[in-house]
């Protein structure tokens, strides 16, 4: 009779959490492909339809024409010039809007008195569509860069202010009490409890702000610009070049998605602790 084997089989030993998170590269590729499938199929269908003579593709140019337009614009350096102009405006407006909104929301969140003083006014201003400021900004700041950046900053300001203030006010009292029990000073309370607690909501509001920044840069460039992707759109309309318009729209989409992804990726290491529905893979 053989002795009973009591060693634990390897597959029953627990696997470290880090290892479990690692995903199959094939699965990641499939995920990316799934996201791209719909636009790719639509583009191919339209290309085939124009090729087959079902449409002349004049008002809605097929992908090949748009691609050629993009390549031409890039070859002459035009595309880069417009992209840089627009990116700089968004960056400046986003930076100014973010800093102002963060400082004001932090102060209003920390001091009740300040909040009661300024929040109603800001909520009232928020109700004004930001585009409505354009005439005033032009009168005040001129038609060049300053008024454009100011408009973008105004658009970026509100989602970040609202998001951060709401997050500060809804920090769990129970967690704050832990800070009190350990007798944290005001600064330590902010750094060790409040800041990490509001970070997830803050990142969401930053991304919403950036999205609005991209929206308002177009409005700003529509109001008179000699370069920038918004200028490219107007130019395409006035000269009857739909391919140029679609090329500019695609560039917008790529830039918007790219900057948002960079923001999300930069924040991800600080948010790995989150136990949220959206965080499941």
């Amino acid at each position: 009779m053989s002795p009973i084997d009591v060693t634990v089989p390897a597959e029953q030993r627990s696997v470290p959490a880090e290892q479990q998170v690692q995903r199959d590269p094939l699965e990641r590729f499939a995920r990316l492909f799934l996201g791209l499938a719909l636009p790719l199929v639509l583009a191919l269908l339209w290309e085939a339809a124009v090729e087959a003579g079902l449409s002349d593709g004049r008002l809605v140019p097929p992908p090949s024409v748009i691609w050629r337009e993009l390549a031409d614009l890039a070859a002459t350096g035009e595309l880069q010039r417009h992209v840089v102009a627009t990116l700089l405006r968004v960056a400046a407006g986003f930076a100014i809007g973010t800093v102002t909104a963060t400082v004001i929301a932090a102060i209003a969140g920390y001091w009740d008195m300040v909040r009661r003083l300024i929040d109603p006014t800001l909520q009232g201003l928020r109700a004004v569509p930001s585009i409505a400021w354009i005439p005033l900004f032009i009168l005040w700041l001129g038609i060049f860069e300053t008024s454009k950046v100011a408009l973008i900053a105004a658009g970026v300001f509100f989602p970040i202010y609202l998001g951060l203030l709401g997050a500060i006010l809804s920090v769990d009292r129970k967690i704050v009490e832990v800070g009190w029990v350990f007798r944290l000073s005001g600064a330590a309370m902010v750094r060790r409890i409040l800041l990490p607690a509001v970070l997830p909501a803050y990142v969401v509001s930053l991304r919403a702000g950036l999205g609005l920044g991209w929206m308002f840069v177009i409005a700003a460039e529509f109001m008179g610009a000699s370069e920038g992707l918004g200028y490219l759109l107007i130019d395409g309309q006035q000269l009857g070049k739909p391919a140029e318009i679609v090329a500019a729209i695609i560039t917008f989409a790529v830039l918007g998605k790219l900057t948002d992804a960079i923001l999300a990726a930069a924040a991800a290491p600080f948010l790995r602790w989150e136990d949220a529905f959206g965080a499941r893979r």
Binding site: A17, K174, I175, E177, V178, W180, V181, F182, R183, A188, R192, I193, P196, A197, L199, F270, R272, W273, E274, D275
Partner: protein, 263 residues
Amino acid sequence: MLALDHVGKTYPNGVRAVHDVSLEVEPGDIAVIIGGSGCGKSTLLRLVCGLDHPSQGAVVLDGATITGPHEKIGVVFQEPRLLPWLCVADNVGFGLAHRRAAERRQRVAAALDRVGLSDKARIWPRELSGGQAQRTAIARALITRPEVMLLDEPFSALDAFTRIDLQDHLLDLWADTKPTLVVVTHDVDEAIVLADRVIVISPRPGRVFAEIETDLPRPRDRQSAAYDFAKRRVMAALDRSLARAVTTDDRETKATAGAALWW
């Protein structure tokens, strides 16, 4: 010594939660505060740990009046209240931030080892079970070596097996440095297992109804006759503490009923 001197708490809306409570807890003693739900026992504990301020009287630790959270007082809440963005080890070491990194690391490792969570040091709190999370919270409170530790229904959210396990574990930890423990609970068994003295609080407003010495030898046998006897005494006191409130209500009901008949 921890002393409550005629402590009362009236909320701004006029509700009297605690009325004229005087208690003394000797260093190293375990006092268990028990009472029905809403009797003001948790409020009483918040007054002791300095999260709330008494409207009357004072809480005094070693001759000094407590005006806010105190470095010699550690607190364990009903929920673990771990910081979700810190790993288990950083949660345990939260109160040691001003110490040198080497000392902090060594003390955290020792504390984790003591509560049997060494292998969980680098995971997030959300990955812990309820019992493990509460053990982490106890380790976090003990790591600053408090003279007094306050526990507000620390095990009431846990299942029966885990609860018994953690009660024994708490006594085991208590034996290391013998801090003064003040435990709030509504579980009579928990009171008898832990306490040197059970303080029964009667509700509306919360006041001391009875103090019962439970000087059974440790470790306590949950099946022994002495345990059963102590439990009966506490149960009886608890019943009477609640009955007093019931009688008052009763009289009011009868008065109303009588009035209704009359009309």
